[in-house]
Assembly symmetry: C2
Homo-oligomer: 429 residues x 2
Amino acid sequence: MKKIKIGLIGWGTVGTGLVKLLRRNSGLISRRLGAQLVISRIADLDITRDRGIKVSPSILTRNPSLILNDPGIDIVIELTGDPNLSGEFILQALRGGKQVVTANKALLAESGKILFKAAEENNRGIFFEASVGGGIPIIKVIREGLAANKITSILGIINGTTNYILSRMSEDGISLKEALSEAQKSGYAEKDPSLDLDGIDSAHKLVLLSSLAFGGWADLEKISVEGINNISAEDIVYTKGLGFTIKLLAVGKQTSAGADLRVHPTLISHQHLLSSVNGVFNAIYVEGHYSDQQIFQGKGAGEGPTASAVGADLIEAGRNILSGDFIVPGRISVENDLKLAPKGGIECRHYIRIPAVDQPGVLAKIANILGSGNISIASVIQSSRRKSGVVPVILMTHKAGELSMAKALKRISQLSEVKSSPLRIRVED
Amino acid sequence: MKKIKIGLIGWGTVGTGLVKLLRRNSGLISRRLGAQLVISRIADLDITRDRGIKVSPSILTRNPSLILNDPGIDIVIELTGDPNLSGEFILQALRGGKQVVTANKALLAESGKILFKAAEENNRGIFFEASVGGGIPIIKVIREGLAANKITSILGIINGTTNYILSRMSEDGISLKEALSEAQKSGYAEKDPSLDLDGIDSAHKLVLLSSLAFGGWADLEKISVEGINNISAEDIVYTKGLGFTIKLLAVGKQTSAGADLRVHPTLISHQHLLSSVNGVFNAIYVEGHYSDQQIFQGKGAGEGPTASAVGADLIEAGRNILSGDFIVPGRISVENDLKLAPKGGIECRHYIRIPAVDQPGVLAKIANILGSGNISIASVIQSSRRKSGVVPVILMTHKAGELSMAKALKRISQLSEVKSSPLRIRVED
């Protein structure tokens, strides 16, 4: 049986999971692929730490060049996550005629134009199933499973950390701070959780999903991104009472004006397929002209699921090698930039929480501003008086445009009775 | 750009959807595939009916041989659903060196051993994404997306008709008969719905899913199949009160004794990922050693979703042709039969409804029989007295084996106070 040789650069949690997977399932994978995947070298700065698996010391090295310059290696797996070096590793591998597998979404989102171009020029593939949605094979689903469709809409819960935090806030009424600290203790959040909480990680993944689905490169810089930092325990309570769940959504929609791409906390109705996706689960909702509504759900992170995705990529890369380096159709193309819709174009319902001094006439002033911006109020929740004298005014609006809403919120925040910035959450209907 | 020629045999609803799809998305598909898909001939017994699309009469024929014997045709799409002829069409196409796409699950489940063998011998593929789960790309997900995993468990809601009926019964408390007639009026159930209601359609699909996932041919005859005909409105009410939803599940599990394959109404907890899959939606839950729990959900039938799946298969078949008829790895292999677990091996909790005469001592007799079979009762629901004098005794048991449960149910049905066969529903924990 033909052997396909693999070099692994970056031997952390996912790399360790992968080595376990390839060892445990080697027979099964050989049968399914029709070739044997052999790890011929592993490079990492730390090759002495005990990772709970035995690996022959002869294949370990601190020097990634021994992989990149080895003509016998067919596939390079880049799992360093190193923002400075990983791109260079991938370019070298492609130029050396190797197929590349990576889980590095930040790198691909930021430098994808260069990297995917290099892949095309060298007639090799960059496989990145593990970069979005953990073990959910969403890249393959969009690229191949739904390939006959014009995809119209992608809604993704694609950051496990924020989904865990929002789920915990909703379940137990705890604050974001408490939920975050719990997530950190359970290993679901990094020490510095800002990439997750600020929505950047979701935006990285949205670049990949929408570039693939909509057929043009989606520039990270042009995606509007809002994180979950301002969501309070009381927002969770009020919106739940109104029949909604708050989720950090990555939204990609094809509109007649271009692609509408954004990441922000979003209210989704309890009836929506995504509303019951809780904890560390990820889910991606995809709508196509023919395929209609679909949802793909699974664990979004962790050694096992991520190793599963890297393993699928290895088999796919192996398939390409066996078929004579035939290029996978439908890959991300960086020739054209995706045409984006102007940012003010969206219209949706909004939830607004305005921290205001409890005085007669405040609501009238707020209603006035909204009315003059042509925003109609659907309902108002009066919360009970508080010792501080600051009482949130909670509003649901009917559909309103992005620009008039921004304008109105600015005017509201300038009212003397309003003590801090209003919070608004868009509704996904 | 290279042209790939297609012949379509069977021009019904799905075929019509496909012709629309290929026309509307031809540019997009050519870009994604790198070749142009051209429908060069359509065969159907009825080529005059108005299908709402214009097709050049020159490509229409009543004679499928004009497709099967045309050396210029690369891919044959078999959508006749004809139980007598479709198999012969597929065999002829494969022998003529054509790739084959079909949605005919009944045919594949019954004659898969012959057909997949012929595909292998002729170095061609049978693509059947549309045969399970409508537009959900579950075949590709299992074959490729999760290919690095040992798959341990598949739970499928893969029959839209029964799921619609059970959902309607649950929503509005109506009877199965009423829900069925509603489904028939809405086009969600056939005039003769027995294949769906009896669970046979789900079993056909389970053959395909488990043969693919577990790596050996699953013989249809050996799958235990139970339909939903005996589920009553009161079962829905009682089980809902106990925290469960009733779903017709296709179950495939790898156990140490072999594969455990069955189709039956099943109680799943409201917390389970599958419990909120309602109406005509299908969903397949797949668990792998590394991928962990995943769920794939979408519309299980209809012109659009099914055409989407056939379209994806065409692109996949086209990719194979472009890569020099390279065989897709991980396909269904019919060399070996799947090793099946002995049928009595399962253990689970049960819901039991026993229609009994309302007399003192009945419950004691029932409890006695269960106890002597080593089945312990977890709870009993006493329903209110009725004019008829027959009152259902409703029980939940703790985990009990299949054989002892069958024995106990038989003894209970022989009690003079028990007026008709007890109903039992297994719990999926």
